[in-house]
């Protein structure tokens, strides 16, 4: 009776072990392949849920079903126009065929190293085949760059002119070409990997070039600053010149008016004198007489020596009363 019980218990344990060994659960993020003595059998299982296998003989290898990350190491690549830049890319990929993936890679880790080789190589090839502006830009839309034009003092103060820079870019095309070439290679190699997307994350100058770029930017700014100052000084001179001109204009106009007024007044005076003195021969004579006498008074003073003859009318009575 006791041995019977133990036997029953053993059987139960065996049954449970059998059931556990013959089912496996995949969740929504997983897929799996079944191997029999190390050899894959059947199609990969991609549906989530409970699945069955032959216990103890078949093994389940679980892979990720999701989109997986790949982050490239920044690599220094010379561009076609010989600029050394660091390109940092990332890609997103998935195990599209778990069976093929298992056969060629065994594990995710090996898959990553394959991807490293393929993606880094493809990125390097495409980047080296394009100029830096093509890599950085993505369209041929003209860009607006601000520059201070040479001081043009005749124009108004809006001295900052807009300039357009036209460098066509091809970033999207480059990325597309990389993805295309990687996809082709992946298909040829039948790695069970699908590259969903590749993006250029960062493009950086190497330290030496970066310093040069900063120097260029600084000198550019200094040049612009100097131009602003020069324009300011020039404008100042222009205003001062205008001031001198305006001043002369105003003063000469005033002088002209003043002279006109004076002239009219003088003419008026001449007329008044004329009317008064010129009415008859007597008046003319009297004026001459009066004016002459006046002249004596004003022109003869204490320093004058007068030599008078006694036959002068004024002295006629000095010698005689007649």
């Amino acid at each position: 009776m006791r041995t019977g019980r133990i036997l029953l218990l053993l059987l139960l344990v065996l049954l449970v072990a059998f059931v556990i060994a013959s089912i496996f659960i995949l969740n929504e993020t997983q897929q799996a392949i079944i191997t029999q003595f190390g050899k894959p059998v059947g199609q990969p299982v991609t549906q989530a849920g409970i699945h069955f296998k032959i216990p103890f003989i078949q093994k389940v290898l679980v892979f990720d079903k999701r989109i997986l990350e790949w982050d490239g190491n920044p690599q220094e690549i010379p561009t076609k126009d010989n600029k050394f830049i660091y390109i940092d890319t990332f890609a997103r990929w998935r195990i599209s065929d778990a069976l093929a993936f298992y056969k060629s890679n065994r594990s995710e880790m090996v898959g990553y190293s394959r991807l490293d080789d393929l993606l880094d190589g493809a990125v390097r090839d495409e980047i080296a085949n394009h100029t830096l502006p093509e890599i950085v830009r993505s369209s041929d839309r003209p860009m607006i760059i601000q520059e201070v034009e040479s001081a043009d003092l005749s124009s108004e103060l809006d001295s900052t002119q807009v300039e357009e820079l036209d460098i066509p870019g091809a970033r999207a095309d480059i990325v597309e070409a990389i993805v295309k070439s990687v996809r082709k290679k992946l298909a040829d190699l039948n790695l069970g990997i699908e590259v969903v997307d590749l993006q250029i994350k960062r493009i950086d100058y190497n330290a030496e070039v970066q310093k040069k770029v900063f120097d260029r930017m600084i000198s550019g700014q200094r040049r612009i600053a100097e131009k602003y100052r020069a324009i300011g000084q020039g404008e100042k001179e222009r205003i001062l010149g205008k001031q001198a001109q305006k001043k002369k204009e105003i003063l000469s106009e005033a002088y002209r008016k003043a002279q006109e007024i004076r002239g009219k007044a003088d003419a008026e005076a001449v007329k008044i004198y004329g009317d008064a003195y010129n009415r008859s021969s007597d008046s003319r004579d009297f004026y001459k007489f009066l004016r002459t006498l006046e002249t004596y008074k004003t022109s003869i003073d204490s320093s004058t020596t007068l030599i008078l003859s006694t036959d002068n009318e004024f002295l006629q009575y000095l010698g005689t009363t007649k």
Partner: protein, 328 residues
């Protein structure tokens, strides 16, 4: 009640059947309590719960109290769907608050980027997103937030790389944010990540540290330009106002002269007329009188007078014309 022997390891313990019963009851009770505890779960206000039954998607549950199958049959994943997730680029918030403190670390790796005219701009920005489909978010992509960050950086650099430094710094800021948002949304939809990019916002866009000063220099130069022009205009206005006054003075003076001149002429004329009228009444006498009066005043003024009789001839040679010097 009969005693029972239970063998545990090498030792045997005697337990009464009533004790055995009690142990079984307690064990069962514990199992039931644990099962109930495992079966209930709550979903918070801004969350969704996703239930996988035997690994397979079963249902999505909403805020409130819910039941699930215990013992690992149902697995619960909670996702904060009604929540604005935020990612920062180029800077980090160390402690948000009334006066938010930002990390002093530099993240120039993230924020320095090439512009279309091959300059370098320092762009710091944030991305806000919501999880719009928790199932997609949970099960389609591994490394969700890493993916969002990587795509955000690629998007921003893609958009900034197509614009000149000038455009990035000034005119195109809003456009850049919108385009980067579009780019992100499109790329993440391609991955079927189930997120909705709510906002891309540029926080700081500036020249990078090493060249920052030279840009301030330009601003200073602009100020100097303005100052020079303003000063000159001020001098101009001041001087022109003064000169306009001077011009008025000149004209007024001329007017004064004119009035003076005509008045004097009129006065002189009237004086002459009056005297003339009297003169005409007694012509000879008046003439005589005027002459003599004049001579009188003239003679008074003159110190040296020489009178020569009309009979004297050729006096002139002896006359000391050079004055006092010879007289000494």
């Amino acid at each position: 009640m009969t005693a029972k022997k239970v063998k545990i390891g090498d030792s045997e313990i005697e337990v009464s059947s009533s004790q055995t019963f009690l142990v079984i009851i307690v064990a069962l009770l514990i199992v039931v309590v644990v099962t109930i505890a495992m079966s209930f779960y709550t979903i918070d206000a801004n969350e969704n719960g996703v239930i996988l039954r035997f690994g397979k998607y079963h249902k999505t549950t909403y805020p409130g109290l819910h039941l699930k199958l215990p013992w690992g049959i149902d697995k619960l994943y909670t996702v904060r769907v009604d929540y604005q997730w935020k990612e920062e680029f180029g800077f980090r918030t160390a402690r948000p608050g009334v006066k938010t403190i930002y990390s002093k670390n530099q993240y120039t790796d993230e924020s320095w980027m090439l512009t279309g005219d091959l300059n370098i701009a320092d762009v710091q920005w944030i991305v806000q997103y919501k999880i719009k489909d928790p199932i997609k978010f949970l099960f389609n992509v591994r490394e969700q937030s890493g993916t969002i960050r990587a795509v955000a950086e690629a998007a921003m650099r893609f958009v900034v790389g197509d614009r000149s430094f000038q455009e990035v710094l000034q005119s195109d800021r809003r456009k850049i944010a919108l385009l980067a948002q579009d780019y992100m949304q499109q790329t993440l939809d391609q991955y079927d990540l189930g997120v909705d990019i709510q906002l891309v916002q540029l926080i700081t866009v500036q020249p990078p540290g090493p060249v920052f000063d030279s840009y301030n220099e330009v601003n200073r130069a602009k100020q100097e330009q303005e100052t020079a022009i303003n000063e000159a205009s001020q001098v101009y206005n001041k001087e022109i106002f003064r000169v306009e006054g001077e011009a008025k003075r000149i004209v007024q003076e001329a007017r004064g002269y004119a009035i003076d001149r005509t008045n004097r002429a009129k006065g002189d004329a009237e004086l002459f007329t009056s005297v003339y009228n009297e003169y005409m009444k007694a012509k000879d006498v008046t003439r005589q009188r005027l002459y003599l009066e004049t001579m009188e005043s003239v003679m008074k003024q003159v110190n040296e007078k020489i009178l020569i009789d009309k009979g004297v001839k050729s006096l002139v040679p002896f006359l000391n014309l050079s004055g006092k010097e010879v007289a000494k």
